[in-house]
């Protein structure tokens, strides 16, 4: 959603079309660097099976004799393990590439579902008003008053392990941010004349809300979406590290870092270090882009 649906919102904020929006974004070199970095990371994750020296899921390719090798060591198969290997002999470069896939997928999927639910509830709250609005917004307040790490931890404890449960927990801790943001914009939009015009034309409530009000509320949602995706990726890694997130069969970056924890006190730093760097670079790249989007899409800073 953030990519395709972002464009109409961007146009609204930039008022001069996509090109102007892109130029304004690119004025900040650091943010541009963040965007390029993010695209490279996403690209690497996408083509991981074709570029990784080893398939870490394929037990036939993983050799226990290669375990805990330092960076630069040669694997039994002959390729160089530039970042070393983990406790069961998986090459860390391959592990990180595959781990990025899982981490990014979990972050994006949970973000999309949370955005869909949160935006719908936020729009309904703003458009319907009255009791419905009070109920939804009380729920939002309650959700936002509790720290997400705690809520996610308790939910996973009750639901159990697994990728679907993690996504559910991440959706529950994220939806309220979208709902609050969209409601704020929609409250302003619904008083505008084009909404009245749409209603006078006899359009249904649903069409008015989703085809006319929603596109005009997207700019702040894009900013929230970047921050929340970074947050979700970090939270999934945290839960997986604590052993209540993804199972060993779905080795996200958090699982890789957790696996290295036990070897760290004996000085084998690389097993936890490199997956952590990959996680950090991903999150920083997303936050750099988000920080710039906040400036570019903020109508108060409009020139």
């Amino acid at each position: 959603m953030s990519a395709e649906a972002g464009m109409p919102g961007a146009e609204m904020a930039g008022a001069g079309g996509l090109g102007r929006f892109a130029r304004r974004f690119a004025e900040d070199r650091v943010a541009l660097f963040g965007l390029v970095l993010l695209l490279v990371i996403a690209g690497l994750a996408l083509i991981a099976p074709f570029i990784a020296p080893q398939n870490p899921y394929d037990l036939a390719r993983v050799d226990i004799m290669d375990s805990r090798q330092p960076p630069g060591a040669r694997a039994g198969d002959g390729f160089t393990m530039w970042l070393g290997s983990d406790g069961v002999g998986r090459d860390l470069v391959s592990g990180i590439l595959y781990g990025l896939r899982i981490s990014l997928a979990v972050g994006l999927v949970s973000g999309l579902i949370a955005a869909a639910i949160g935006m719908t509830l936020g729009l309904v709250a703003a458009y319907a008003g009255g009791r419905t609005e009070t109920l939804i917004m009380r729920l939002v307040d309650l959700q936002l008053s509790l720290p997400s790490v705690l809520v996610a931890l308790i939910l996973v404890a009750l639901l159990g392990k697994g990728i679907d449960k993690i996504i559910l927990a991440l959706v529950i801790v994220q939806w309220a941010y979208y709902a609050r943001t969209v409601r704020g914009s929609a409250l302003v939009e619904r008083r505008k004349e084009y909404v009245e015009a749409a209603r006078s034309l006899g359009l249904s409530h649903a069409r008015t809300v989703f085809r006319h009000i929603l596109p005009n509320c997207l700019a702040p949602v894009i900013v929230i979406a970047t921050v929340q995706t970074a947050h979700a990726i970090s939270l999934e890694a945290t839960l997986s590290f604590l052993g209540v997130g993804l199972p060993q069969t779905e080795p996200s970056l958090g699982v890789l870092i957790a696996n290295g924890f036990q070897y760290m006190l004996s000085g084998k730093y690389w097993i936890s270090f490199f997956p952590g760097i990959a996680l950090l670079v991903t999150i920083v790249a997303i936050n750099l882009v988000g920080d710039r989007l906040r400036d570019v899409l903020n109508p108060r800073l409009e020139r």
Binding site: V149, L150, L159, S234, A237, S272, L288
Partner: protein, 325 residues
């Protein structure tokens, strides 16, 4: 003022009640608590007996009332793993967590306010830009990974600081604290720094934007016209005025520090209630999980209540718009 306090206390109680319902729903309706209490090979009769004994055969609203009554009396049941009453176990571990969170808050303020002031007063200077870039890094860093790296660097490679545990404590007025001995601080330093990193960026950003606004105010121009030294203008006039929002936000953030200490305590083997919670989750020790959640919810609600009331005492405008806030 009194009407405002009564209304806020009423809201706080409502939040606690809603949370109680949610916790009850999560533990009694989604999962069947009986299966947590009987051995895996129990016969149907044994299961039914446990069900009757603990009242799980009663209708849901009856069970809920019983649950409420027990909680009101501070009875959260007995921990399956530790055997003792769950509530007492949590309370016993609470001081260690509060100490860690407090030390982290202290560090966030000590590091964040000077950096934020500098960045706010010299926004174009190169170090200020570095500070702001650093603050993006600060809230991007995954806490748990930074904890690992701190242990790696200071404990394993340099060997300066201990990696785990709380160290010796000194009893002051019945409260055990490790803040009064050097050895205690050596143990506290790394976990507190780890936990503080989350909030340093926040304090830097708050202080910076506050300082930038305050520097343009008339009272600062007036102070400068009076010929006061820069040190006095910044240290007294500006700082005093930007402290209120910072203190408010930090008060609210204290709760999130307590929550995040689950991660830090696990990494540094700090014997607080967060580590207890994680152990309870891994062993599905439900009474302990329920007790932890209720204790933390009450802690949160109390902090929010105190901050709100203090804030309305400091700024009467809040009371008039209390409903929309």
């Amino acid at each position: 003022m009194i009407a405002f306090i009564i209304r806020r206390v009423g809201q706080a109680l409502a939040v606690i009640l809603v949370m109680t319902v949610l916790v009850f729903f999560g533990t009694h309706v989604i999962g069947d608590p009986v299966w947590m209490m009987v051995p895996g090979d129990a016969t149907q009769e044994q299961v039914e007996q446990v069900r009757r004994e603990f009242g799980f055969d009663q209708p849901a609203h009856r069970q809920f009332l019983a649950f409420l009554r027990d909680i009101a009396q501070g009875d959260f049941g007995r921990s399956y793993v530790h055997g003792g009453p769950a509530f007492a176990l949590i309370l016993e571990r609470m001081p260690a967590t509060l100490e860690l969170a407090f030390a982290a808050l202290l560090m966030a303020v000590v590091l964040g306010i000077p950096l934020g002031l500098y960045a706010g007063l010299n926004p174009e200077a190169a170090p200020a830009r570095a500070i702001m870039a650093g603050s993006i890094l600060g809230f991007s860093l995954p806490t748990f990974w930074v904890g690992l790296m701190l242990i790696m660097l200071f404990s394993v490679m340099l060997g300066w600081l201990p990696a785990t545990g709380r160290g010796p404590t000194v009893s002051v007025f019945g409260i055990e604290t490790s803040m009064l001995s050097l050895e205690g601080w050596r143990h506290l330093l790394l976990p507190a720094l780890n936990l503080a990193l989350l909030k340093v960026s926040l304090v830097i950003r708050l202080t910076r934007s506050g300082a930038r606004e305050a520097a343009l105010q008339d009272y600062v121009k007036f102070a400068r016209a009076k010929g006061l030294s820069r040190r006095r203008i910044v240290g007294v006039h500006i700082l005093k005025n930007i402290l209120i929002p910072i203190v408010t936000v930090l008060g609210l953030e204290f709760g999130s520090l307590v929550a995040f200490s689950v991660v830090t305590e696990t990494i540094f083997a700090w014997p607080g209630m967060g580590k207890l919670l994680l152990e309870a989750i891994q062993r599905l020790d439900r009474p302990l999980i329920v007790a932890y959640v209720m204790v933390v919810v009450m802690l949160f609600v109390t902090i929010n209540l105190i901050v709100d009331i203090l804030y309305s005492a400091l700024d009467p405008r809040v009371r008039l718009t209390g409903d929309t806030a």
